[in-house]
Amino acid sequence: MLKLFYNAAKQRSLSQATTSASLIRNSQRMFRSSAQMNQQFNVYIDGRPVKVDASYTIFQACQEAGYHILSLISYIESRFLDSAIMKDYQLPATAECAQSKQKDLQNQQITQPLITLQLAACATNVRPDLKVITKSEKTRIARGGVMEFLLANHPLDCPICDQGGECDLQDISTVYGYQEGRFMEYKRAVEDKNIGPLIKTSMTRCIHCTRCVRFTEQIAGEFTLGQVGRGKYNEISTYIENMVTNELSGNVVDLCPVGALNNLPYSFQARPWELKSNYTVDVMDGLGSNIDVHIRGSDTLRILPRINEEVNEEWISDKSRHAFDGLRKQRLHIPLLRKPDGSFGELTWEEALNKAAEVLSSVKGDEIHGMIGQFNDVESMLAFKDLLNRLNCDNVDVRKNAPHFKADFRNQYLSNSRIIGIDETDLLLLVGCNPRLEAPVLNARIRKAVGVNGLQVGIIGSATNLGYDYVHLGNSPKTLQELAEGKHPYLQQRLAKAELPMILVSAQTLERSDGEGIMNYIYKLAENTKLINKKEKWNGINILHTEASRVGALDLGIVPQTNVTKKPKVVYILGQDNFRHEEIPEDAFVIYQGHTGDEGAYYADLILPGASYLEKSALFVNTDGRPQQSRGAQQPPGFAREDWMILRALSEQLGCPLPYDSLDEIRTRMAELAPHLVRFDVIEPSGFEELGLKAEESKLKLNNTALTDNIDNFYQTDSISRNSMIMARCTKELNPKKQFNFKEHVQTWMTH
């Protein structure tokens, strides 16, 4: 964990260096922010000179010099440029420092003896010519002393504590602590709190670093946790019975340096040294958050975020973190065929593939309909498309009711200013988009931008609690029309003045019948604002995708088919579970290939079991257009196989074998189609030209119904989370729309 943190610090300073110029350029400094410091001078860490910024603390200077003081200093100050919020628990990060008196104004050297001070490194700012001694007997004793105070009230829980083995306090006490303590009085005890179905509390272990409080307040924007009482009676608490309901709440578990806040579903499951870590990407939203899946044997035990400053920083949403337990339920692990009586009978793969081939070859190509679902990787979509094309079928789409995208150019369907664009933009307009539910991590980034560089946010759509202030312009596309036609005062007052404005429209909003009109009005809006700012190489038109497979599909040229007239006789569903009933004709033969028995499988006549996102090594493209590789560390259960391999085998049965046998070969084919897909983790610039971003006058039609929230239950949106016990509990207890009454249900509500 500590290592992770230091890497983070390093990465952060890098990314700060690249974005700070634009940050400062666009920021309207807020009243609360500390002054901009760009004075640079030398300090000496153990005699080694390091050039530092005046805003640095001694702690940061030491890090710069490559000397890591173990500390419980928070991540948060450096994220928020606002150092005034700092109220850190000052931990063993004391550094003895000898400070020479500064030269006086006339620049004359005053000969004075050096003053030696013991300072808390994480709370003290550097001064010119400061000399820091990090290794001395006095410092060692001081650090041990702080450690002893910390441990005075910390219970001796380590053998039964879930944090054991990855506890910052353990690490620090190993390095700095004394061998034995002298504390002989009573240890204090604090009652545990119920703060939700995802966080287990053992508040006696808390060391009051307030990271959890600051995370929920500053990053998640929810004010339910606080520090109540004082002195010995100080507690982290909600004061009244209350729960942490934000969509990022799971992150406080990672933040908590000790075992006070623990992962409830994971409690007492494993020790960290038993776990195998597996770096992969998340598919629960379009963001493609980087995750670290922890596995023991064949069991996925937990999911933690991985740091990627350009995607998810260091957070993931609760759904990404906890929904994976849905993969233990309702799994399809053996090929199934529907019997005449409606029940399913098991098949061998050979029989199943024969059956599928028989069905597919018995109809004409244009009578087949291929539907692609939201968890599909690029490889399987490519194999799917290739296979159906070989059967003379062009009717491959994401869904009939899929958003109206044009996919001639990449910038027509991407988030063009990228996720990091939020750090640079000075005005963000959300159109029918609730980032808090559609991409909670993105919402945290927006909140940060609002707090740090005074980003202005305007909303067209439903006005919900996003955790920051915004201007609500209206809740129907009509407002957008007024803006685009220059009739709305907001245009002159704000939008037209913004240097790097950004517009974020949800892909789900574009599913409306007037999706095309909305998109065209956005293009129109770009004409009289700087949405496309060629000078700054800025393209502010963004589509926020909520499905992990969508951008990959569009990159492969799989777009919704609008001109299909023939009723399909065979429907081949590749992991699609969110379709409407009428999209599948009653009498069609349905082949479902996927991993979970959800909506899609109910319609199926033949089921081919596939692999889930944790079980395959494949490519996913996020809403930025960033191809990321996932790495499966587990085998799919039972007879389930990776999706593209199933399709390859099926092509063999159909007598038109696909020309690739291995992952490398399929990626070579992918590179032929879309070369940018094989440059992992690199976003191919979409071009700043307005190519394809021209409004078409004929398509400016709006139906003026209100833009409603696209997601009403964040916790259950797809086949995995619908089958997850934990997500079901979250729905019951945390979703305000489900009206869970804490007071009434508290009797039956069980946490531990």
Binding site: M184, Y186, F223, T224, Q227, R230, Y233
Partner: protein, 282 residues
């Protein structure tokens, strides 16, 4: 034994000489006596967290009186509009005073609403300060000072007398609902130690167990005893009586300056000087 010795190493000279276990344990027990007294501390019995009681729930009605609203507006006007929440402590006091020295949850929620704060932030402030009574107190909240000067002058006896008279422990309400006693820190009247403050307002000084009981009896009868020293002493004069500031009337003017007038004079003088300077320049 060895482990125990290690445990006590350096904690106190007391333990160094001890060689046998039983003695150590008895000493340990003795050592812990002062800790037990802390149990009577007011924060210990009143939980830091809120507990629903009949008269203190989220839905208990609370509304400031119109006069208090005037006062609140006055207080809020002192701070910049984006720092409204600076007014939280004065407002908590207003609420507490209005509600018979009892700061209810609904009062805190109300303040959060007035100041545009999250309720949690108000709870944090209110639970930090011991002057806010988040549990019900008696009509007379006797806050007896227990800090060193008062303690040396007999504060503990005074407290004990009150406890015995009213049959209460610290932070409890007497049966007749009149008295609650709590121990507080120095209130700045050490010259007249020991002393107590009643209802955050009135100081009763120079207490002895006897005159404290006399005070309580008067309250019980519904009388209002005189505030200030309870012995034959004028204000905080020493045994020699007044030794300085013999002519208070001479210094009165200083305390009663009309600041508006002074400001006006200052401004006029400034304007005059500026005019003179301008004339000189010409």
């Amino acid at each position: 034994m060895f482990a125990l010795k290690q445990l006590y190493r350096g904690s106190s000279n007391l333990f160094k000489a001890n060689k046998n276990t039983t003695q150590l344990f008895s000493l340990l027990a003795k050592y812990q006596q002062p800790m037990m007294i802390m149990n009577q501390n007011r924060w210990f019995s009143a939980f830091v967290n809120h507990r629903d009681t009949e008269d203190n729930r989220e839905d208990t009605p609370f509304e400031f009186t119109p006069e208090n609203y005037e006062q609140i507006n006055e207080i809020i006007a002192k701070y910049p509009s984006n720092y409204k929440h600076s007014a939280v402590i004065p407002l908590l006091f207003v609420a507490q005073k209005q509600n018979a020295n009892f700061l209810t949850l609904s009062a805190m929620n109300k303040i959060a609403k007035i100041l545009d704060m999250a309720p949690m932030q108000v709870y944090e402030v209110a639970s930090f300060y011991t002057m806010f009574n988040r549990t019900k107190v008696g009509k007379y909240h006797l806050q007896v000072c227990g800090t060193t000067p008062c303690m040396l002058r007999g504060a503990r006896d005074v407290m004990q007398a009150i406890r015995e008279y009213a049959h209460i422990n610290n932070d409890e309400i007497s049966e007749d609902g009149l008295f609650t006693i709590s121990e507080v820190e120095c209130l700045g009247a050490c010259v007249n130690a020991p002393m107590m403050q009643v209802n955050n307002e009135w100081f009763y000084e120079d207490l002895t167990p006897e005159n404290t009981i006399a005070l309580l009896e008067k309250w019980k009868k519904g009388e209002e005893p005189n505030v200030g020293p309870q012995i034959n002493r004028n204000c905080s004069e020493g045994p020699l009586g007044r030794t300085s500031l013999f002519k208070p009337e001479e210094i009165e003017g200083v305390h009663e300056r009309d600041f508006v007038e002074v400001k006006k004079q200052y401004d006029e003088a400034k304007a005059k000087a500026a005019a003179a300077a301008a004339a000189a320049k010409k």
